[in-house]
Symmetry: D2
Subunit: 309 residues, 4 copies
């Protein structure tokens, strides 16, 4: 599919604005950052910066916030106390190309605006995701959703081969059924073409789709907290990592607070807090007597540096 | 996958409740109503009835609504004036089995609650959608999103064959890559299995998924207005039709108003209204002078019964 | 309360950006447009323009939209068919000062982001809304929610006097109870002050509050369709009118389509459509035989220009 | 205002249903539980129970959840890992009467359905909130949003007197301006009445309003986590406490997990985690060297039982 480059016509060098701008973000505009084999993240527009968060918070809390002079301190205060609405005052818009199975996870975040390419209306290109060999993980035996070690040699080759062959064949048949090429030209004049909305069902979940995705800063961070997490599937994490970098350049104070109070935070349940009090008080305690499940116990010990991964 | 039948244990005949009940809906509970070849819609729970809408409206509008004595009249008034909040006071929950490409359209309605079966965690059965021959439509030449006539004979057979073969092969390879069967038994002891979250990408969009879908009455009607519409793709329309029947039995007054003021309503734009005034006033008017596009003109003439489809 | 002027520091003349800009909107930035006696609407930021809607639609509908060459035509098509998601790709942010009773209606639009000044944390100024004499409407005798004629002479004076006196007294007592002035200075050293979060309950609903309000273009139009409508209360309509003007300058094509297909559109119910078919076909029809209520009949006749207001 | 009791006509003893029921909740139905001086919380309807959460989770995680046999364990797992969607499968509906300033905080939770009594359409009763003497808190000198000690003697009497007098006067003038009583009877035939939508602006924020409020279990818990918290204003906390009790009877396993993993949980930021590691490892550490603000340090010490309140 031919793509509009998203840039406003006739202003390659830019125009004047009195709005808030972030020079680091201007650099990202309209350039696709590659993700996976054929995907990308492309910044289309943004609204606000660190200061826009502060500005909204100061309206909410009025003269009271005079005490908190420093912007960075106020942002950390907001993040720490989960005062989320000031973070909703910034907005960002991306153009993203991603495999359908990734899009299916992504779309569950209901608080964003989406315009997706529709295979009901248009031809879908022969572009599908094939993992790099180092990502051909086996099913984890301990963790239902995780990955274990990596397939190697013949086994890896066999998998890559199957994925490749099936996707190629699926697309060939998709085209044959529609009886038209990517330009809408009829392939065989003596045949009818199946409606696009039906033919597309033959494509597999690793085919690429694309969309515009617009979200506010609060919801973006919620998305990133879940999808940049080591428990997230590698393929969506690859997108989240790229967006984390953009986040850092866009709103550096917010990013820093987000890392300290969300990404690297550890939530202590009430039973875990009891364990901790004993530990700190020098009283003996083990998993059995802790009220924690073995898994919760282990996670706590890991977080405290009392056990190694 | 083995399914919980969704019914509360030990109350096959029911228990007493002081809540609002709708006897017609009690009949639907827990029974799958078949849709397409392997799909279903299964009512799991509901809250409220026609009267719950009235009750909420009477709180909103207070003593003022005393004038509108009759409940049916009040419901029609609310629907007509798009007073939507009273319709949000009813809720319904379904268990639905549907092809992935249908789920992808469906999920764009962001105002519902969803719990979908996850192929990241679990084995996906070898169940995929194959259209009935009478639904093998060709691409409409006039309408990008519509369907035209139906494929026949050899052409139809070829399409059905391709869809069937590709889906079968995709699933066989999916199983081979995971190296496990539906019960989680390892197939070949001398091999490793690819992680489920990766293997699933080989499945095509006609495979069935399933989910719990819970929505309020207002948003359900918004969904049905779009998806039971003749312009909607047949496959999602098949689900919407079944749900329309349930709607009718659940809230008959709301249903009737919905049909009169939404489903069968026709919105006149300002230019169309000008045309109409001339028509009603007996003044001559044709498409060229109307300010309407040929398509808008035609739709208006059709709605007025001045032209035949 | 002292206000940040919202403008980014040190860029009074603007800076270069490669983002989409709308020169007409740049003029509005940061300037309060007065509404009612002490309120305002102040544009803080915006994202996107007419073309951003087109851009999103073209990604959704892909190569298919090549046929619709012209942007204006595409926007009208989207509006007419209620393809709402492309309009979600634009965003706008306002700083608004408004009476609390207006804010209470406004906040029911749940799809916007809000940061409101909090009287729990901060002192609320002695600013309250007093209607202009020409807006001192009597209760409509026909329409429960409407206004009738206007109070005059003694009656008007009495109402204005009561409103003024009660609001003044309420604020004086508010300050007395808190025992602090607007700068947080204690008024009488020999007394304690009631907590702000409690004292505020003495203020009446015509006191002014303020907030940052951020919304996407689709939801903004939904808000305006309801609140710029003649049935909306005058005081909220005054805000909607100002925002309509900004809308027109921001996205002129969208605005035009919005007026034609929403604001000035008329929805024909199924029974109204039947009436119309008879009218157009020259068959006799009156209210009694129409299936329409007297009110629906009258609205239809008015819309068709067959009756005068 | 006369109130519908909300109970379905003619089924005082109940009818049979095959839906999920919770016998403990049936007892609450339709009975107002008093809150503050004139407010109440009244359960109108509910959907689902502990098992409905489990059911949805088992569909999502499929056969994988067979390992987690026990329902209670699964619910704790979901809560702990913030798998929120299964909790969205339950729904609850309340009728609530509350002061307007409480409603203004409450309505900021945008994810619920609301139908509020409208003073635009109807007469508002002379019912307003006057705090109990023990809740007449002074402004906290340390915490901007908190309350300090309690007003006493003359000071308390003065405040109560002002609140009472002003509210009484405001309502008297409200009635005088409208020139109608609660039954809509004209008071003085020789006068016109100001429109209700205008007259209401004279009422103060402690007047009572009422609404139907419907929310899913996930969003209810989010509301309760914020509003039953000691930092929440007492008046909204009074409502949250009553709803917490209902929550406990409705979904006892969910409630228990909610208390352990939300209400009584403590979130460790990255810097706090570093402090903890040192503490547990027996290394010396004080606030200055900790990277924590004095307030963060104190909260951590309190949570660990190393300091007293």
């Amino acid at each position: 599919m031919t793509e509009d480059n998203g840039a406003p016509d006739g202003q390659p060098k830019g125009v004047m604005t009195r709005r808030v701008t972030v020079s680091a973000l201007e650099e990202y505009l309209y350039k696709p950052l590659q993700v996976l084999d054929h995907g990308f993240v492309r910044l289309i527009d943004y609204m606000g910066d660190d200061n826009a968060v502060v500005q909204a918070a100061r309206v909410s809390y009025g003269s009271g916030t005079k005490q908190v002079r420093e912007d960075r301190g106020l942002i950390r205060y907001l993040m720490r106390h989960r005062h989320t609405t000031p973070f909703e005052m910034c907005e960002i818009k991306f153009h993203i190309k991603l495999p359908i199975f990734v899009a299916r996870q992504w779309v569950r975040h209901r608080t964003a605006n989406i315009n997706e390419y529709s295979a009901r209306y248009s031809y879908l290109d022969k572009e599908f995701y094939i993992p790099q060999p180092q990502h051909l993980a086996t099913q984890s035996s301990i963790n239902r959703q995780g990955r274990g070690s990596v397939l190697e040699g013949h086994e890896a080759a066999r998998v890559l081969n199957l994925l490749q062959e099936d996707a190629n064949r699926a697309h060939d048949h998709y085209v044959e059924m529609m009886n038209e090429d990517e330009n809408g030209e009829v392939l065989r004049q003596d045949r009818h073409g199946l409606a696009r909305e039906l033919a597309r069902m033959n494509l597999s979940l690793n085919f690429y789709t694309q969309w515009y995705w617009k979200v506010n800063l609060h919801n973006l961070m919620h998305f990133l907290a879940l999808r940049a997490d080591p428990h997230a599937q590698y393929e969506i994490r690859a997108y989240a990592s790229v967006m984390l970098k953009i986040l850092k350049d866009w709103v550096p104070h917010v990013y820093e607070a987000f890392i300290d109070y969300r990404v690297n935070a550890f939530e202590l349940s009430q039973p875990a807090l009891s364990v901790l009090r004993k530990l700190v008080g020098g009283k003996p305690i083990d998993q059995k007597g802790s009220g924690l499940s073995p898994r919760e116990w282990r996670e706590l010990m890991l977080a405290l540096g009392l056990e190694k991964t």
